[in-house]
Symmetry: C2
Subunit: 153 residues, 2 copies
Amino acid sequence: MVSILLMVKIMKNEVRKFQEFVRRNKLLWSNEREIIAEQVFENHFHFTADELFIQLDQKGKNISRATVYRTLDLLERGKLVGKIQLQSGKHIYEHIFGHQHHDHLICQECGKIIEFHNDKMEKIQKKISRKENFEMQGHCLKIYGICSKCQKK
Amino acid sequence: MVSILLMVKIMKNEVRKFQEFVRRNKLLWSNEREIIAEQVFENHFHFTADELFIQLDQKGKNISRATVYRTLDLLERGKLVGKIQLQSGKHIYEHIFGHQHHDHLICQECGKIIEFHNDKMEKIQKKISRKENFEMQGHCLKIYGICSKCQKK
DNA sequence: TTAGGGTTGAGATTTGGTCTCAATCTTATT
DNA sequence: AATAAGATTGAGACCAAATCTCAACCCTAA
Ligand SMILES: [Zn+2]
Ligand SMILES: [Zn+2]
Ligand SMILES: [Zn+2]
Ligand SMILES: [Zn+2]
């Protein structure tokens, strides 16, 4: 009688993408990178590096802040997550992979973030860059103001 | 024989505007505020708080960092200077008074900043805000890429 | 199994900026 | 001009976010 144990690691598509990116860049795939990526792709909106660190900590994963920061950098370089700077100077992260590019409306009162995408604006930006002989790589548009809920208060 | 000495302080228009703002807000007009404002309006492009502090220091003005930061905040509140956040997290300042609103192209290679203004884009932003019932107060658009000079390298 | 080299954790360090508070200055009022 | 109330300042302590250090450890290819 023969028993075959087949270990197949179920890996989220996004995590696998990250793994591919890491390998493609001749870096090593570590446990920590996998755990962090998993958590990142469980967060379905914006989060800070420290929030992510605390989430992991609460799950009993002992991963240092440094590694969280380092891995978020890697994820950003791989274009799997985006990094956005708030006016306060703090950074927040969000998925990119599988999501359409978008910009943000940010409420100055409660911090609420509304996402939007506008093709016409994207095109204008490309046009402006061309006119200046500027090789556009990316952009960052944030509209600051007061959200509808906070206006009522 | 009578001799009249008339002391008239020559003050740049921009500095006077700041003085008016300070007085309007029931704050006091100090020597430090005047010296800082003068230096600010001598800078005809973007500068950091620390650069400003060093400029003043090199001129022999003994003004503390704290006061420089505090005064820049005030100038910003008075809408006399604008504060822009770079991707690195650093802030740069620039005149606003007497200048048209504009956005920035920022070279990732050499740091060069090109200013531009596009009315159509401003309008689209207002439209987007209206649609979301968002009371727009301001916005920040930065286009990142490589300037023509750096492309040639 | 091993060697070479990438990765990690703990904590120190850096950075850009803010806060504290006693001394000082500004301004309005006598 | 003197005074009093309150705003401003400077020096340095402090802060949070992020980065760096380096020895111990882990991954991978051979
Ligand atoms: Zn709100
Ligand atoms: Zn978003
Ligand atoms: Zn350049
Ligand atoms: Zn500008």
